[in-house]
């Protein structure tokens, strides 16, 4: 069993809008997937469907289970941070540890204590007395101590300062990810997860518009800072997007031959952010 998530024709409609419009998706075990899209694109809805938090139409299997009908069993193997600051404000750090140790058969309390020992979070404090960064640290310590096969993070670092965000992803990569687990992350701060991901999925208006590995991006996409004389020749290769930087054209190509591109100017692999902007239709909305 190497497939972690498999979706076919996944649909979710609300009264007046379509959140997921026929999503086909396959995520293998051991991948770190970035699910990126503009606000309201359906990212959270897709994650909620995978986590059994919302009903859906179509086919969806997570670790071989139907998440909507089998949520509690699925949660033995799946962990998630569905939103910022969802830890109950009244709970004490020690109570959170006690409770999860009580209900979760795969929770390693000593491991969680170990993570917490590196922070300044005290056991007898309540969540409401912790700073925003500490709450995320606490939640991550709890989650990372669970021996899960799939970890889902929906905007895990929203509202955190740069230092905490860096620590967050460092801890995730160095102390949690072991090559067999699967991690799915959504975030607007795409530049931060650029080096973390193995796979990238762009979602827009409930549809998947890009589904690729990071390795494939390198071989498929190229960004060229075109020298003034070559602009027209470069445009003939139909760039996905062209923008002006210091009076020069920077063009992003999909699948154009590298040796040709090199004649136009400096070639480099585009960042996720560049690719994102180029892939989304409404650039105004996407850069917001």
């Amino acid at each position: 069993m190497t497939t972690c998530i498999e979706a076919r024709g996944l649909r979710k409609t609300y009264e007046k809008s379509v959140a997921l419009d026929g999503v086909d998706l396959r995520i293998e075990n051991g991948r770190i997937v970035g699910l990126i899209g503009p606000n309201g694109a359906g990212k959270s809805t897709a994650l909620h469907a995978m986590l059994g938090l919302t009903p859906f139409d179509g086919e969806l299997k997570v670790l071989g289970r139907d998440p909507w009908n089998d949520r509690d069993a699925l949660m033995r193997d799946v962990c998630f941070i569905a939103d910022v600051a969802v830890l109950p404000r009244w709970i004490k750090v020690s109570q959170a540890l006690d409770y999860i140790a009580g209900v979760h058969p795969r929770f390693d309390r000593a491991r969680a204590e170990g993570f917490l020992a590196r922070t300044s979070i005290k056991r007898n404090r309540r969540v409401k007395a912790l700073s925003k960064g500490m709450v995320v640290q606490l939640h991550l310590a709890l989650i990372m101590a669970i021996d899960a096969r799939l970890l889902v993070l929906d905007e895990p670092t929203l509202g955190l300062d740069l230092l905490y965000r860096k620590q967050f992803y460092d801890a995730l990569l160095n102390e949690y990810f072991d090559g067999s687990r699967t991690i799915i992350i959504t975030t607007h701060q795409v530049e931060e997860i650029q080096d973390v991901l193995t796979d990238l999925i762009f979602i827009q208006r409930g549809r998947i518009v890009l589904d690729t590995t990071m390795d494939a991006i390198e071989s498929r996409y190229a960004e060229v800072m075109v020298q003034p004389g070559h602009a027209d020749a470069a445009r003939a290769l139909r760039p996905l997007r062209e923008r002006q930087v210091f009076g020069r054209s920077v063009m992003l190509f999909d699948g154009a031959p590298l040796d040709q591109l090199q004649q136009f100017g400096d070639v480099r692999t585009p960042s996720i952010a560049e690719l994102f902007v180029a892939t989304m239709d409404g650039t105004q909305e996407a850069t917001r």
Partner: protein, 314 residues
């Protein structure tokens, strides 16, 4: 060969993972504990009422203790009545507190976790909606009555000790009356009976409040109460009848008529404690009101479990 080894290792790893099990009642018991952590009033409210009552009795004993014991000693024949009154008072006061706590607990039970979005945290753990809702329902139906009974027993024993000290200081018949004329086991038995009878009778009320808490987007109290007021008014205006008011009265006080009956062979003499022969568990258990209420509660419970599954944070 190495891939074969890996495949073997993986299948071993998967088998090891599958081996992790736990006792099915563990999540339920931890869910109840979590309710107690979140709702400290379940324990604090009855204890506070008990403590303040005891303080009141101490002050009353200092001011009127001598007169009280003298009066209790004079009214012989039905004399255990007056000396037992403070003990019954504690039982009644703490029981009423229980009902109040149960009402407010139920109104917030499935609302609070949606309001603060912590439902996302609870749902990230392997605890089913059925387990969660059962644990929440168990608070007014089992936890609160049990806490009430224990607090009343403790408060009555404390009152007996405090009263004995007062009687010793005052002198006279007080001490003898306290230790011979207060039927504490009977009071506790009747209290336990009343708690069970009332709690089962109120089960649909708690279930209704909890259902509203699972569904309302705001103002749960208003949604819980207003429909009945509107319906009662409508009924009065259109038909000039008061069936809904009667129905509500029956639901809130009907258990006493079903579970207790005056035995004409035993005179009562206006006592605060009642003879055990007045308890009619058979009649209560065969009353229509009990079973229609319980069926109603079960139906509401099923809807609640479904709501817990479908409702998203506010």
């Amino acid at each position: 060969m190495s891939s074969l080894n890996m495949a073997e290792e993986m299948s071993v790893a998967i088998e090891q993972r599958a081996a992790v099990t736990q006792h099915p009642t563990r999540p339920f018991l931890w869910s109840i504990r979590r309710e107690l952590w979140e709702n400290l009033s379940i324990l604090i409210a009855p204890l506070a009422v008990a403590a303040i009552s005891e303080l009141g009795f101490i002050i009353a004993a200092i001011r009127h203790g001598r007169e009280f014991f003298a009066m209790a000693a004079r009214s012989d024949g039905g004399s255990h009545d007056l000396i037992a009154a403070p003990f019954v008072f504690l039982a009644v006061g703490i029981s009423l507190t229980m009902v109040l706590v149960a009402i407010f607990y139920s109104l917030d039970a499935l609302y609070g976790e949606r309001r603060d979005r912590s439902i996302f945290f609870w749902k990230s753990l392997p605890v089913s909606d059925l387990t969660t809702v059962t644990a929440k329902m168990a608070v007014p139906l089992i936890v609160l009555p049990a806490v009430t009974l224990m607090v009343v027993i403790a408060a009555n024993i404390l009152l007996l000790l405090l009263g004995s000290v007062a009687a010793l200081l005052i002198g006279g018949p007080g001490l003898h009356l306290l230790w011979t004329q207060v039927p504490l086991p009977t009071i506790w038995l009747e209290l336990a009976y009343t708690l069970i009878v009332t709690t089962l009778w109120y089960a649909p009320v708690y279930a209704w409040l909890m259902l509203v808490s699972s569904w309302a987007r705001r103002a749960a109290l208003l949604w819980a109460v207003l429909p009945f007021i509107v319906l009662a008014l409508f009924e009065k205006i259109v038909f000039n009848t008061r069936h809904i008011v009667e129905l509500l009265k029956y639901r809130f006080s009907g258990q006493f008529a079903a579970a207790f009956a005056a035995d004409p062979h035993i005179p009562h003499n206006h006592q605060t404690t009642i003879p055990l022969s007045w308890l009619t568990p058979g009649r209560y258990l065969t009353s229509v009101g009990l079973w229609t209420g319980l069926i109603f509660a079960v139906v509401l419970f099923a809807v609640m479990v479904r709501m817990r599954r479908y409702r998203e944070p506010l």
